[in-house]
């Protein structure tokens, strides 16, 4: 717990994520097989690698969702081995799934997620315009949205959370060119206001231009830093 003290929401030693020889086993399969890497405050880090390399598992582990089998893991000053629950309220995760309720409208979904984290209505409006989600869509049910619109809606719920560490799994997937531009802009803005970002992407060209650094994940190991 002493590994990094928070002052004004920032870690004084600057390491937001610090993984050393981390092994994560689920159902006897080592999805992460000894990953070592660090992420400093204010970085935008790209995780690249083939499907099944362990990128998704790594992101979920950073969110405190998975038990660490071996090694040491520290995120935002929380030791994930002793208490992986403390970190949760301070990270924002966007996985392959959007976490939206199909039968609720865009606004109802936004209100649900923002009520959980205590955000206000103006936060929602800001987030929706930042990600280019037209306000005319707010009364539309999620079931009637296109894949790209859903992705934007999910991103908007994430923006509302004002997380210190953003963990994004294929955030570009399903978005059109304009949506990708808006996403990149949003992520840069979030970084400028103090957030650190880790994301996985197959859109290598675009992702490299966004990222400040990229890591390659293969066979459950971070192979190049």
């Amino acid at each position: 717990m002493t590994n990094g003290k928070l002052i004004n929401g920032k870690l004084i030693n600057g390491k937001i994520v610090d993984f050393a020889d981390v092994v994560i086993v689920y159902d006897n399969f080592p999805a992460i097989a000894g990953a070592t890497f660090t992420v400093a405050s204010g970085e935008i880090v790209l995780l690249q690698g083939p499907n099944g390399a362990g990128k998704t598992t790594l992101l979920r582990a950073c969110a405190g969702l998975l038990p660490i089998t071996r090694g040491t893991a520290n995120v935002l000053g929380c030791d994930l081995r002793s208490d992986r629950f403390a970190v949760r309220s301070r990270v924002g995760l966007l996985g392959h799934a959007n976490g939206l309720y199909q039968d609720l409208t865009v606004l109802e979904n936004m209100l649900f997620w923002s009520r959980l984290v205590g955000a206000t209505r103006s936060d929602i409006d800001q987030a929706m315009s930042a990600i280019g989600l037209a306000s005319r869509l707010s009364q539309t049910r999620v079931a009637h949205l296109s894949a790209g619109q859903r992705r934007r809606c999910a991103l908007a719920t994430l923006i509302v959370r004002r997380a210190q560490l953003w963990l994004l799994d294929e955030p570009h997937a399903g978005l059109d060119a304009q949506g990708r531009d808006e996403l990149d802009r949003t992520l840069r803005t979030a970084r400028d206001s103090g957030a650190t970002i880790i994301f996985a992407s197959h859109e290598i060209e675009r992702a490299r231009s966004l990222a400040t650094r990229s890591l390659t994940v293969a066979g459950g190991v971070v192979t190049s830093t």
Partner: protein, 231 residues
């Protein structure tokens, strides 16, 4: 103070979300209610005797409730797992006890609607009768029984949500646990109907047992839900 208002906010958000989705999708009204009604009708075919039906009406209402409960619980958690919302609830760092209470209240309210319809069906199909005192007993019994069932259903539904073989595991775990409710609610309902010469006053002790059950699983569920559904 702050914590309590936070819990209340989460309970409210989850409750409204679950109920709104149910109202929109109409799965309970369009599928579960007909299913429960069908159980009542099928029993009438199987038993084929008005006197017997009058006697066992209470038991049939609660059996139909419990079979429907299994279906509703599975549906209630499928909503949260189908697009990964349950994962995001965990990451949101919200108090999972509050999520439990919100979902349990939503489930209880759906069961209340279901039971109103089932009792009405018993009046229509099985020709049961009820006195004024019996009616009070019946209403109290339905409230306590559905509350207990809502708690226990949410607890075990959460445990099996997303697990392999949940369709069979949930009834295996849930049906034996609900046995005390089945016995108590059936006796109380029979007392209310006066089936087989049962006296109304006998029913109140059973309502007491239902209240104990609801309290035990309300408390147990609030404490245990978080550890159970978290990976």
């Amino acid at each position: 103070m702050n914590k309590i208002s936070g819990v209340r906010r989460v309970v409210g958000a989850v409750l409204i979300k679950d109920l709104r989705i149910e109202v929109r999708s109409r799965v309970v009204t369009n599928q579960v209610l007909p299913f429960a009604g069908l159980i009542m009708i099928m029993f009438a075919f199987a038993l084929d005797n008005d006197d017997v039906l009058q006697r066992v009406a209470g038991g049939l209402i609660w059996l139909a409730t419990m079979f429907s409960l299994v279906v509703i619980v599975q549906r209630s958690f499928a909503i949260d797992t189908s697009d990964g919302a349950l994962d995001l609830l965990r990451v949101a760092g919200v108090d999972l006890s509050a999520v439990f209470l919100g979902k349990a209240i939503a489930l209880t309210m759906q069961l209340l609607v279901l039971d109103v319809v089932l009792v009405a069906a018993a009046f229509l199909l099985y020709q049961v009768q009820v006195s004024a005192v019996g009616f009070v007993l019946l209403v109290t019994c339905v409230i306590f029984a559905t509350t207990g069932l809502g708690f226990v259903g949410t607890l075990y539904g959460g445990l099996t949500a997303g697990a392999k073989g949940r369709e069979t595991l949930l009834p295996l775990l849930l049906l034996p646990v609900m046995a005390p409710v089945l016995i108590a609610a059936t006796r109380a309902t029979e007392a209310a109907f006066g089936s087989g010469g049962a006296v109304t006053s006998e029913g109140w002790a059973w309502v007491g047992l239902l209240a104990v059950f609801a309290a035990v699983f309300g408390l147990g569920g609030t404490l245990a839900f978080g550890p159970l559904i978290d990976e």
